[in-house]
Symmetry: C2
């Protein structure tokens, strides 16, 4: 196995070397545009790692890694329309740079192309790959719909929230690892364990993401600081705060949730102060930590060299301790 | 083989008996809603016919027929958003009945589910089925983008237009037939011929559709009469009219194309009068006829019982002579 940077470089070279080609240009250009915006490439890196973890070579899983990154970017392209998000990684989102119909249609094409890439696998690997890939793709849609439903739903509790982020984010991390493991010929038990490892890590990762939206240096990556607070997004922090707040904290929280006319910085500052009073950052961090611990325990059950496990530990440390 | 009505009944019973189930309801309900709106079910019927044409039983191709109808309805769900069309088969479109984000996401799910249905085939049939299905799915996206590009493109000629309708409409009819043929175990040559038959028939069909939008009794199916004229849609009739119009006809045509403030019925009446003066209905009908003739010739090359071919002839006659 190799350090993260090496996998990342390989993913980026794959994307650069195999741009989508076709006509009309208005349909195909957005695919290459969004893929070129960069990012951490966590999912394709996990696919390559999943393959080498079980003794394969990363080159064997290249097409599956690409497929999963293409799929992920399809979801981003459509999510940005649904969420009315004008900026993606510091650049105009596709529906802003082109228009909404093009973002819908290019996203559709991207979804189809991701299935085509998966199918570049050896014949005997195609069925298990498509099984987990299609199942995951449906779940990601379910998670996104839950997330949208939460916007107008008042009774969102911790359990529902965890299920939402499991579907929207975590299962694709599990699928990424399992796709690599399938290519490498891992046993069914090992596949199941590495999938669950990715899934638990994914929940831990998303909880960290909720914390970073408020407490991170997110201005560095082109995202609005406190964006979740401004839009009343039902994150783990808000759900916990609503559960715990009493007296003045409760009044303040509801005041800001219901106030339509506000200066964004003022709202972010005020709601963050309530979060601080209630200690929800620490509660969320402990919850995230618990999911990472569970993930590590699952990793322990897999019969692979300790050295390989170490690379996954480092991967987890990287996403746990990032500041944006 | 059987008459159209029998295939149609079977398709409708398949759709009724296997509704999509899952949560959240807001994600899954639109799939069943749009599928229940009905329609001619041309594509799944062609899949069943394609199977029985080559000696198979329609039940064997049921999942593939369903897959193609689900795929087709995914494209309708997304097209209605892109085209800003509020009505689908006389009922509110999904983006109107629910909202746009839900129509995007339910469409995405429908696309994924169509791939899953295709994969219910016997293992040795899956690769050829997915090959033609994925290729066609990409082409349908290309056709839709061309159609959207045409809205702002002045230089649309006959050749480009035919290519657009080939991609947007015709290839899926070819794919529908070929999918049935694959299930029945038809030879590669026969598959190719039946695909081409469907493709040429599809171009002929779409040209008829252009004529019917102006001259048909389209009020019967909940579509706006003359909708293409009202929206300046670059149909075969308009492209031909722009090519042929001189003097007063040319002036009238450009007047109505550029006039923003008009009574819909008046515009439809005036542009139809220009079409009548130029005889573009007859030119389009002859062109459509030529594609059907080509389709019949392709059908003649296939080594199947004449009785089976007769069912396809009847299918063509039905779509050629419909009045809405």
């Amino acid at each position: 196995m190799r350090p993260y940077a090496e996998y990342l470089q390989y993913v980026n070279s794959l994307i650069q070397q195999s741009p989508f080609k076709g006509t009309p240009g208005n349909l195909y250009e957005p695919l290459n545009y969004i893929l070129a915006l960069g990012g951490k490439r966590m999912r394709p890196v996990l696919t390559l790692m999943g393959c080498e973890l079980f003794g394969g070579n990363m080159e064997d899983a290249a097409q599956q890694a690409l497929a999963i990154e293409v799929f992920h970017n399809f979801t981003l392209m459509h999510d940005d329309i649904m969420d009315n998000a004008p900026i993606r990684r510091g650049q105009p989102a596709v529906h802003v740079k082109w228009n909404e119909p093009t973002a819908i249609l290019s996203g559709d094409l991207m979804m189809i192309k991701s299935m085509d890439l998966i199918r570049n696998a050896a014949p005997d690997k195609q069925k298990p790959l498509l099984d987990i890939f299609n199942k995951t793709a449906c779940e990601v849609c379910e998670g996104q719909q839950m997330d949208m439903d939460f916007e107008v739903e008042n009774k969102v509790n911790e359990e529902l929230y965890i299920e939402m982020i499991r579907l929207k984010t975590a299962v694709l991390l599990g699928c990424s690892l399992q796709a690599g493991a399938i290519v490498a010929g891992a046993t069914a038990d090992a596949q199941k364990a590495i999938y669950s490892f990715g899934e638990q890590m994914g929940v831990g990762f998303q909880l960290m993401d909720d914390i970073l939206d408020v407490y991170g240096q997110s201005d560095k990556v082109g995202k609005q600081v406190g964006g979740d607070i401004i839009s009343n997004k039902k994150t783990y922090l808000l759900i916990k705060a609503l559960e715990l707040a009493e007296g003045e904290n409760c009044e303040l929280l509801h005041y800001w949730l219901n106030e339509d006319d506000f200066a964004p910085e003022e709202k972010v500052k005020a709601v963050t102060a309530v979060y601080n009073n209630l200690g929800v950052k620490e509660i969320a961090a402990a919850k995230s930590e618990a999911y990472f611990t569970l993930a590590y325990r699952l990793l322990d059950t897999i019969d692979i060299p300790a050295e390989n496990k170490q690379y996954l530990h480092e991967f987890c440390e990287m996403i746990r301790t990032r500041i944006h």
